[in-house]
């Protein structure tokens, strides 16, 4: 089943809204755990997202160029060794797609709703 180019499913809307909300809070690039945590805390009840679901949504959004990502550059002080984090950033087309999804009746958690101002 093919989707329209700009069509988003609910988890993708939630993820984009979470990344945008974090960006508005001053976190320009965020990793998967932070996005998942934001979905959980700000997305309201019933926003339990499985790891696989979250990362596949992130991968799809990146493939459609709604998100951009890169590996964390230098090892952070809190984790000098161990696996690296992948940092995500919403793109202009991602913001437009999110606005369009919300305008078409897509729902996002109350705290995730991007400020209209």
């Amino acid at each position: 089943m093919n989707r329209r180019k700009d069509e988003l499913i609910q988890i993708e809307v939630d993820v984009l809204a979470a990344v945008l909300a974090l960006q508005k809070r001053g976190i320009g690039e965020c990793h998967g755990f932070l996005i998942g945590k934001t979905l959980e805390t700000d997305g309201g009840a019933g926003s339990l997202v499985g790891h696989g679901t979250l990362y596949k949504a992130l991968a799809r959004l990146e493939e459609r160029q709604f998100l951009r990502s890169r590996w964390e550059g230098n090892a952070p002080k809190d984790r000098p060794r161990g696996p690296r984090r992948r940092l995500y950033k919403i793109t202009g087309s991602g913001q437009r797609a999110l606005s369009a999804a919300i305008a078409q009746g897509g729902t996002v958690g109350s705290f995730l709703r991007p400020a209209s101002s």
Binding site: H31, F33, G50, G52, Y55, A59, E62, R79, P83
Partner: protein
Amino acid sequence: MSAPKGISLGSIVLATVLRMEAWWLLLITASMPMEPRDRYREELRSHLLDHLEDDQVLGRGSLKSALRISLRFVAGVPADIAACARQSRLLLEDRSKGPAKRFVLIVGMTLAAAALCAIAKLSGHPELWFVVVGLRVALLLGRKKWHSVGSGFPRPMDATRHRPRS
């Protein structure tokens, strides 16, 4: 049976949950091409580490951490299985599959058959052998009937469908 002194029940449960998650991750990413597989594995390991660190900062105990991680694990399993099924279907229907893909397919089917045989042996239900044979036949018969679907993985994971441009 009680846990030895110095090791809490919570830490044992947490270690078990983490091991389970690690094995699941290895299993569901086994058939992916190397680049997306390594990325996916590293991201999920990093995610789990962040999860543990966050729980520690918030003062959550090991048992609570284990419960939270396993809840997400269970929530994600259906999506993981669906994605793996799509990926396997892509492997099966790809007419230009090479020896590596065929190898992954054969290993996957062998593992599934071995698991069923082990279950049959342990549960004392030898009739499960027929399920193994039936599965194999169904796979072979259904091979040509399956239609193309998107995998849900980013493009590199769909590399099995990629044909070089001439």
